[in-house]
Amino acid sequence: MRLINRKPSRPVALLLAALPFVAVAIAYAIGSEMRLAVNPQDRLLPAPATILDTAIRLFTEAERRSGRILLWHDTGASLFRLLSGVAIAAALSLVLGVLIGLLPYMRRSLSDFVAVLSMVPPLALLPILFIIFGLGEVSKIVLIVIGTAPVMTRDMAQRVIEIPREQIIKAQTLGASSLVIALRVVLPQILPRLISNVRLSLGTAWLFLIAAEAVASELGLGYRIFLVRRFLAMDIILTYVIWITLLAFLLDWMLRALSRRAFRWAEAGL
């Protein structure tokens, strides 16, 4: 029987799914063991038990000075920045995407510009951003917006253009103005795509968030990683990495669920 036709039974499938995770865990444990055998103080690959201890401490113990559990505050601050940035970028890309995709005048004037913008490396412009927007939340959010909005806008505009011309014509024969076409024909049809764009750009958004928090911040997941990176406190870093991965996974899952709920008319293709 061909390999492509061989399907694992249910228990085997579960085993297979767990396999790579277990393999990584074992590889890590061995690597850690070996390094710790040479130098018991080695911090690069702390023992799994150490990480677990650290994780429990981070999640439950308050910092002495402020009496706050930093991890939760870091998470709150970072999620606020991340979600604000992505939400603004999404709103911007939606509006611009519809305008560019629908109005020839807008398309002419903005599509090249957005294409060029999407190629600019925003990290290099960080100093200018900090001058213009200050060191507070704004500049971090703006960095996320600048980093994700152009690509999203291009894609949204493309999707608007891909809406069958027939529908736009049909709406006109029903007396729809440009505004009505934008609101009632185009908008609802590209919303599912907006969500999948948000899902795609969350990865980049995390990157920018971590980069921005590394420069000036007193709270945040990226800030904490940056801070402890100096001391190679890998137990803390790994806890934060796993936590960020989990958060990213949850966000992605929520967006997918939302999309499936909200847009039942678009059965497939998300």
Binding site: P164, E166, Q167, I169, K170, A171, Q172, T173, L174, G175, A176, S177, L179, V180, L183, R184, V185, P188, Q189, F263, R264, W265, A266, E267
Partner: protein, 255 residues
């Protein structure tokens, strides 16, 4: 009296002529079938009637109005595909024909309720009342096209333009759609232009069958000349074709 009049219309894209010297006069209530080879310009002609495009030369007017510059409520249209809105339920697709004409595209309160009642009537007439709450994706191809036609008619257009409306349906459904369209027409007379690939369909449904073809042909440059109406059959008597040659080639007549 000519309800739709097409006078000396030419259309070319990027210098390449597609239609040349098209003249046509249609009375109110006539059903015009349009046939012709693939790529000869049938859809282009429909686009001109729709005012989606402006002819390079010539004038098209409906009901004596000024030539339109863009599609409007005077023109209903149904394409082979994508003629309904996939994100609206079947009922909302019908209501759209009323609500889209408002400023923001939404109806509220009493007007919405009234529109909903009318929509349900329409759905009853086109036999879709049992799927009023479904989305188009859940409908068969034939039901989708019926919905598209019902939607177009709800806007009460002066002319209805159909571009191969049944081209994607299987034969059985097609026959049902013919009956459906004939019934609708019997209830409320309309001026209809229908492009079709199927000659039999054209004769079965149409009062007149127009054939688009290139009257001139340059073997070294197939794209040198455009198409025009080369035959204009009278198809009223049960589709038994007795035809009169419409115009002498190279000598346009003004209808």
């Amino acid at each position: 009296m000519s309800f739709v009049s097409v006078r000396d219309v030419w259309q070319s894209y990027g210098g390449r002529p597609i239609l040349e010297r098209v003249n046509l006069s249609v009375a109110e209530g006539e059903f015009i079938s349009i046939v012709g080879a693939s790529g000869c310009g049938k859809s282009t002609f429909l686009r001109l009637l729709l005012a989606e495009e402006q002819p390079t030369r010539g004038v098209i007017s409906v009901a004596g109005d000024m030539p339109a510059v863009e599609p409007d409520r005077a023109r209903g249209v149904v394409f082979q595909r994508y003629s309904v809105f996939p994100h609206l339920s079947v009922r909302d697709n019908i209501i759209a024909a009323e609500s889209f004409g408002t400023r923001l595209g939404w109806l509220w309160g009493a007007r919405l309720r009234a529109a909903r009642t009318r929509a349900d009537e329409t759905l009853g007439r086109i036999g879709l009342d049992h799927v009023a709450g479904h989305y188009p994706a859940a409908l068969s191809g034939g039901m989708q096209q019926r919905l598209a036609i019902g939607q177009a008619l709800t806007a009460r257009p002066r002319i209805l333009l159909l571009d191969e409306p049944f081209g994607a349906l299987d034969p059985g459904t097609r026959v049902q759609m013919h009956d459906f369209l004939s019934d609708l027409r019997a209830q409320s007379p309309m001026t209809i232009f229908m492009v079709t690939h199927d000659l039999a369909e054209g004769f079965k449904l149409g009062d007149r069958v127009l054939v688009f073809d290139k009257p001139r042909w340059d073997p070294h440059d197939p794209g040198a000349y455009g198409a025009t109406i080369t035959y204009d059959f009278d198809a009223r008597h049960g589709g038994i074709p007795y035809h009169h040659l419409r115009e002498k080639i190279h000598e346009p007549t003004h209808a």
